[in-house]
């Protein structure tokens, strides 16, 4: 009897101690998450909530008491031509990047994936612009596109054409910003595609070649299909980056002329930090967060689907 009781007690003790250990493991885990979570809470999630809250009030930095305004800020935003202009500029930039930068990056990745000499040097040169501060490259491109003495205009004049006021005209200013952005990021996308290309199983390529597939067929049926995830990732990152475009615009054009280069992020900055219209600026922030959230959601869903397919 005593022995059986002892055994039961020992069992209970053991259970209790594993439970205790598991509990303490949980506590350790929570403690380890705490620092990161604290900072993310304080500087991402709480401000996000605040942005939603502020977007419902009419306020400036200097009004002591914000007035509840319901959705008035949003209504005002959606009826403001300059908001739509900023949105259109951003979409134009995004489309431009996808038409210009991504195909170039894909081509470069395919070329860099060949067995060639000096590959590392080419790769470094092509990726290089990505590490240069956008402010610096904005400054460089302001010089390249300068009306007087800028090399682009010098070349035009050399060809007998008249110089263009690149950054001072609505039509060419945004194009100049696009060219700089493409210069900055194409190498980055090329590296993303290169990583995708290197994950293409060589057995598939060989199988396709055995079936009599030429270079083009291999590229279309094997490489492009395997590249799917990277392509999608690049498109989404490209969109996200475009919606955050700020530094180069601030340096090159200050959003002008007449809002021709004002992007979504720049619009929020102008409204909030220069016009001190906190309500409308926050409303635009909330719209930006929603747009980015949709994009991230798409990306997450897509990557999950591909992962499942792979396994």
């Amino acid at each position: 009897m005593a022995k059986a009781a002892e055994a039961v007690i020992a069992q209970v003790e053991a259970k209790r101690s594993t439970r205790r250990r598991r509990m303490s493991l949980q506590m350790t885990g929570v403690a380890m998450m705490a620092p990161a979570l604290f900072f993310l809470m304080a500087f991402v999630f709480v401000p996000m909530g605040c942005a939603v809250y502020l977007s419902l009030y009419q306020s400036t930095l200097y009004t002591p008491k914000p007035v509840f305004a319901g959705l008035a800020n949003y209504a005002h935003l959606f009826s403001a031509p300059d908001f739509w202009q900023a949105a259109a500029n951003t979409v134009w930039l995004a489309v431009g990047m996808m038409a210009l930068s991504l195909p170039a990056a894909l081509l470069l990745a395919v070329l860099l994936n060949q067995r060639i000499r000096g590959r590392a040097v080419f790769r470094a040169a092509i990726f290089g612009p990505y590490v240069i501060p956008l402010v610096s490259s904005g400054l460089i491109f302001s010089l390249l596109f300068a009306t007087d003495g800028g090399p682009v205009n010098l070349a035009l004049q050399h060809l007998g054409l008249s110089p263009v006021n690149w950054l001072g005209q609505a039509r060419t200013a945004l194009l100049s910003v696009l060219i700089l952005t493409a210069w900055q990021f194409t190498g980055y996308y090329a590296i993303i595609f290169l990583a995708g290309l290197q994950s293409v199983p060589s057995s598939l390529v060989e199988a396709c070649q055995v079936d009599g597939g030429g270079r083009w067929q291999v590229f279309r049926h094997v490489t492009l299909r395997a590249l799917g995830p990277s392509l999608f990732f690049a498109v989404v990152i490209c969109l996200i980056q475009t919606f955050q475009t700020f530094d180069q615009v601030y340096v090159m054009t200050g959003g002008g002329p007449d809002g021709a280069t004002t992007t979504f992020a720049y619009y929020i900055f102008e409204k909030g930090f220069q016009a001190f219209n906190i309500g409308e600026s926050s409303a635009a922030s909330v719209v930006l967060i929603l747009v980015l959230a949709c994009l991230s959601y798409l990306q997450m869903r897509a990557s999950r689907r591909w992962v499942v397919e792979e396994s």
Binding site: M32, F39, V44, L108, L134, I140
Partner: protein, 275 residues
């Protein structure tokens, strides 16, 4: 055979053109920084007499060392804090059977996509309430936790065999010991990648320092550069001095890139191919 030769030649040609296009603006920056002021409108591809004095003038025009110190100190602190908070959090996410882990990771992914441009008004208000605006604290604290850092560290930690961690636990090792003696030493490349990528990222970014600081002595390099163009120089902007100053600003990141190239490229590749 012949077709292959042509293709190879075309590959080299195309890559050379692309590399040249990437380097050309940098070349023009260097060329202009050496141009004498009276030769700024000249189409010369290289100055006949390089004016090295432009660098002296640019160095004297602005307290560059102060800006560089501001940048290096704040971004160094950011990166150190990020490595600490991110490795702790990633460890919990990977090796500890936490309840609600999936939600935590989801929160990290959400945090990763929210840019400062969308939250800067509340962050500014909060920091000014505790009198931190225009201090190093304002530049560092908002980035002490990094969703990207957690994400990257998690990717690295996942490649470590679980058995090692479990075995250490059975031997009675504490979680802290496992993290600092097993997990981190086995993830040195991930740490280096995080340090380099995020140091350069924060060194380069203009937006938040522009908002959070307002005196000359608190400027970081990108802010100083933007002022060089927009206000201090104004109408009489001398491109040669501006480019000389720009070279000072770019040099630290270019040097870091040349040293740690492998990590940059692997880091970017790693974020794209994810599980």
């Amino acid at each position: 055979m012949k077709v292959q030769h042509i293709l190879k030649a075309a590959t080299y040609a195309a890559l050379s053109v692309a590399a040249a296009a990437c380097l050309a603006p940098v070349y023009w920056m260097i060329r202009t920084s050496l141009m004498p002021t009276n030769g700024l409108l000249s189409p010369a591809l290289w100055p006949a007499h390089p004016a090295w004095s432009n660098f002296v003038a640019a160095w004297r025009a602005q307290p560059f060392l102060l800006y560089l110190w501001n940048s290096v100190f704040t971004n160094g602190a950011i990166v150190v804090l990020q490595v600490i908070t991110s490795s702790l959090a990633a460890y919990a996410l990977v090796f500890i059977p936490l309840r609600g882990k999936r939600w935590l990771f989801f929160a990290v992914l959400v945090a990763m996509m929210v840019p400062m441009q969308a939250t800067f008004v509340p962050v500014y208000t909060m920091l000014s309430a505790v009198h931190l605006i225009n201090t190093y604290g304002a530049l560092i604290l908002p980035y002490a936790g990094s969703a990207f850092g957690i994400f990257l560290m998690r990717q690295g930690f996942l490649t470590l065999p679980r058995d090692i961690v479990d075995a250490a636990r059975v031997d009675g090792a504490s979680e802290w010991w496992i993290l600092t003696r097993i997990v981190l030493p086995n993830n040195k490349p991930t740490i280096v990648t995080l340090v380099l990528l995020n140091f350069v990222y924060h060194y380069n970014s203009l937006f938040w320092p522009l908002v959070a600081t307002n005196t000359t002595n608190m400027r970081v390099v990108p802010v100083a550069l933007s002022y060089f163009l927009t206000q201090d120089a104004g109408q009489t902007l001398q491109w040669n001095d501006a480019m000389a100053f720009d070279i000072f600003a770019v040099a630290p990141v270019v040097i870091l890139f040349l040293i740690g190239q492998r990590y940059f490229i692997q880091g970017v590749a790693q974020t794209a191919v994810k599980g």
